[in-house]
């Protein structure tokens, strides 16, 4: 615990239980309003030295980094969620209370840096005034000085420092102006607990407050008051502690809501007084700020939506089309690498490595372009301030389904791929809205389903047009997409009734001023998200794909060897060419593998849907990735892995059932189609859901729900129409 070495004012430092000589570098917490440039500042201070972990027990990201201070010294920074006040209104904000009210917490900071928006000083100071009253040593980072200047707001810096009692560093974090000064101030440990009190609890609260102070051995009246307000939500308190506080607050008839209101009003009054001394506003002309003019267009009843739709379309194009090039490159890269290995080494272990592990790894890496692109888009939207307008436009439409205005972007992204879409649901603050969005996004028909749709639709829908202009195949395809969308909305609606909200969900939010995106922030976001995906979801994906590979390549006992021998006999007798023999062997081996056994075993269960054991095998393998369905079907029907879709179609069309009739009738294909619209056939999605919700309950729920839905729909189609 360090002392403020050059502080000219008397200080009341909180006693700490930590040893005097702390071996680790100073720890500071970055705190401030949302939209006050906190993220920019964090990025400026830490660059690529950032790490994302999580707070124990909550699904809130814990962002930390190492910052260079002046003169070779370093400090550990923890970036706290943006908040307007210490009274938490969301899970995110709750984490702040848990951290700052408990000096014994592992993350308890040595001092705080408060980012304040200079053009919004009055409101920004509310939080600061609370932190000051807690006695926390602080430095004020007065950000967005350029914006303030534009608005004719002039701040008397020395006066501000004097009034607040802490060092004030003016800056423009986006441009990097003032950061050096901040580093120096931090290094010289000039952070001082303000000697001034902004607000005092009413006299009649003192007995309550003092009792709490005594009981918990707290250094500060205001902290004790917060214990009284928030004890139910503070994790570090024991049940006994809470019982005590419950008793106490009842005894004194403590009305938390009324007192908070009183306090907030009181603080603003004091802040107003202070600002009168320190700030002068000179309005040059009554010019309408550019932001408002832009808003007139972007939130226009017609243009607003049109523009939004085109941006969505652009986003969709990016994830769907532009990402293809790097994705193909990655695919080729992995395949070439595998080929190289296979040419130089042999043996079963090599096969496990190349076809199992490396292929699995390839399956993870291939998502990178899409994730990067989606987050680039999201970051730009958020940085420019447009995201707030999106929420504004879409909220009314999304509310009936229990979704938030911000859910639109993940849902649309899900049309390309659910994996980045689910990760993108981060931007939704309300826990319930976010969970709902994550849960239903996989129902949006993603691009991996397209090969499956295409093959099946082409199999049974004639290539004709309806009413002369609409291609029938196109119509059915669209029908499948619509089915996905409708089911997503309906599921959200149903789930909304079942889920209990953990917190009151507020819509009220600030419209930030429009500004150019800070590309550095965008870049850092992309790096962070990609890393998180690879190291967290990636592990699960590789594990499962290796498992599936093993199941598809090895079989119980000698059955595979026997099957292969049989095929060899046939090949010799009928003089097949080598390629044909190979394909038949592959098919026989798959049939007698564990996967094949699985197919046979579940056949009774899927027969009511119109499927047989061959389809059963494909259902298992396509769990790795939906498009694997086509690959597996072609192996089973011994088409060969490099066949084009046309060949696969032909083979499937020729397949006959036990009565000599075509196996893949329209109804059967429709049943399979409908199954794939709903089925959770994607382990990557489950892995990402696990990572984003930090629990297995949600992905398991998705699996059960969607598989159930798929089964029911398929059953309906087959039983009714055949």
């Amino acid at each position: 615990m360090q002392e403020a070495s050059t502080a000219p004012r008397p200080t009341t430092l909180p006693p700490s239980n930590r040893p005097a000589a702390d071996p680790h570098p100073p720890r500071l917490a970055l705190i401030g309003n949302p939209n006050s440039g906190k993220t920019s500042l964090f990025n400026q201070l830490t660059g690529l030295n950032q790490k994302v972990g999580n707070f124990p027990g909550v699904t809130v990201d814990r962002k930390t980094g190492m910052a260079q201070l002046g003169g070779q010294r370093r400090a550990e920074i923890i970036d706290l969620p943006g908040t307007y006040s210490l009274y938490p209104k969301s899970l995110d904000e709750q984490v702040i209370a848990d951290l700052l009210y408990n000096p014994d917490a592992a993350d308890y900071p040595d001092f705080v840096v408060v980012t304040v928006d200079a053009s919004n000083l009055r409101r920004s100071l509310l939080l600061f005034s609370q932190l000051a009253d807690l006695g926390l040593p602080a430095i004020l980072a007065l950000n967005m000085t350029d914006l303030a200047a534009e608005r004719g707001i002039q701040i008397d810096l020395p006066a501000l420092e004097r009034e607040l009692g802490v060092p004030v560093v003016p800056m423009n974090a986006r441009k990097g102006v003032g950061i050096a000064a901040l580093r120096i101030v931090m290094a010289e440990r000039l952070a001082a607990p303000p000697a001034l009190r902004f607000w005092e609890p009413e006299g009649d609260l003192l007995p309550l407050v003092r009792q709490i102070r005594y009981y918990f051995n707290l250094h500060n009246d205001y902290l004790a008051l917060h214990y009284a307000h928030q004890f139910r939500g503070l994790r570090f308190l024991s049940d006994d502690d809470r019982a005590y506080l419950q008793e106490l607050t009842e005894k004194y008839s403590f009305d938390s809501t009324a007192r908070q209101a009183e306090e907030t009003i009181g603080r603003y009054a004091r802040i107003n007084e202070l600002l009168l001394e320190v700030v002068t506003v000179t309005r040059t002309e009554q010019r309408e700020p550019a932001s408002n003019k832009i808003d007139k267009v972007l939130t226009h009843r017609v243009f607003g939506y049109l523009i939004f739709l085109s941006i969505l379309f652009l986003l969709f194009q990016a994830i769907f089309a532009w990402a293809q090039y790097p994705m193909d490159l990655i695919d080729q890269g992995v395949a070439s690498f595998n080929e190289l290995l296979q040419r130089n080494f042999s043996g079963p272990l090599v096969r496990l490595l190349t076809e199992g592990v490396i292929a699995g790894l390839g399956g993870v890496l291939i998502f990178i372009p899409q994730i990067a692109l989606l987050f680039a888009f999201l970051a730009v939207l958020e940085e420019t301030g447009y995201m707030a307008r999106v929420t504004f436009l879409m909220d009314k439409l999304m509310r009936p389904f229990g979704l938030s205005g911000k859910s639109v972007v993940p849902l649309i992204s899900g049309l390309a791929c659910a994996v980045p879409a689910i990760m993108g649901a981060r931007t939704i603050e309300s826990w319930k809205d976010r969970m709902l969005t994550i849960f239903v996004t996989p129902l949006m028909s993603c691009s991996a389903r397209i090969p499956v749709y295409t093959v099946l639709v082409a199999l049974v829908v004639p290539d004709e047009s309806w009413l002369g202009i609409f291609n029938m195949r196109g119509l059915v395809l669209m029908g499948m997409y619509l089915l996905g969308l409708v089911s997503a909305l309906v599921s959200a609606f149903a789930l909304k009734k079942i889920l209990k909200a953990r917190e009151r969900s507020y819509f009220i939010m600030e419209f930030p001023v429009y500004r150019w995106p800070r590309w550095k922030n965008v870049g850092l976001t992309i790096v962070e998200k990609v890393k998180a995906f690879i190291f967290q979801a990636g592990k699960v994906i590789v594990a499962i794909s290796v498992l599936l590979w093993v199941l598809a390549s090895y079989g119980p006992g000698q059955r595979q060897a026997q099957a292969e021998a049989q095929v060899q006999q046939q090949a010799a007798a009928q003089r097949w060419p080598a390629a044909e023999t190979e394909r038949q062997i592959a098919s026989a081996r798959l049939e007698t593998s564990y996967a094949g056994t699985f197919g046979h075993v579940i056949e009774p269960v899927i027969r009511p849907l119109g499927f047989d054991w061959k389809v059963g095998i494909a259902l298992l393998t396509s769990f790795a990735a939906r498009e694997v369905f086509v690959g597996t079907m072609s192996t089973i029907y011994s088409v060969g892995q490099d066949a084009d879709l046309g060949t696969v179609q032909q083979k499937l069309a020729n397949e006959k059932d036990s009565h000599g009739q075509p196996f893949f009738t329209p109804v059967r294909a429709l049943s399979l189609l409908v199954f794939y619209v709903f089925a959770m056939q994607c382990m990557s999605t489950l892995a990402v859901t696990y990572r984003e919700t930090k629990s297995w309950r949600w992905p398991l729920g998705q699996l059960v729900y969607m598989t159930g839905l798929a089964y029911a729909a398929s059953l309906l189609v087959w039983q009714v129409f055949s």
Binding site: T264, D295, R504, F511
Partner: protein
């Protein structure tokens, strides 16, 4: 709800201006006070605010 509004700056005595509504009528755009920063909130949330001419 009132607490959240207070914290965001809707202190008794502050000037507010209705700057617009979303195309479907909900939510609203309010401009507060001298600093003129914009808040958006749902109609259901806004009804808790009492205005004085």
């Amino acid at each position: 709800m009132a607490l959240k509004l207070l914290e965001m700056g809707c202190i008794p005595g502050t000037q507010v201006r209705l700057a617009g509504r979303a195309p479907l009528g909900d939510p609203l755009m309010l401009v507060l006070g001298d600093e003129e920063y914009t808040l958006s909130l749902r109609v259901s949330e806004a009804t808790t605010i009492q205005l004085k001419a």
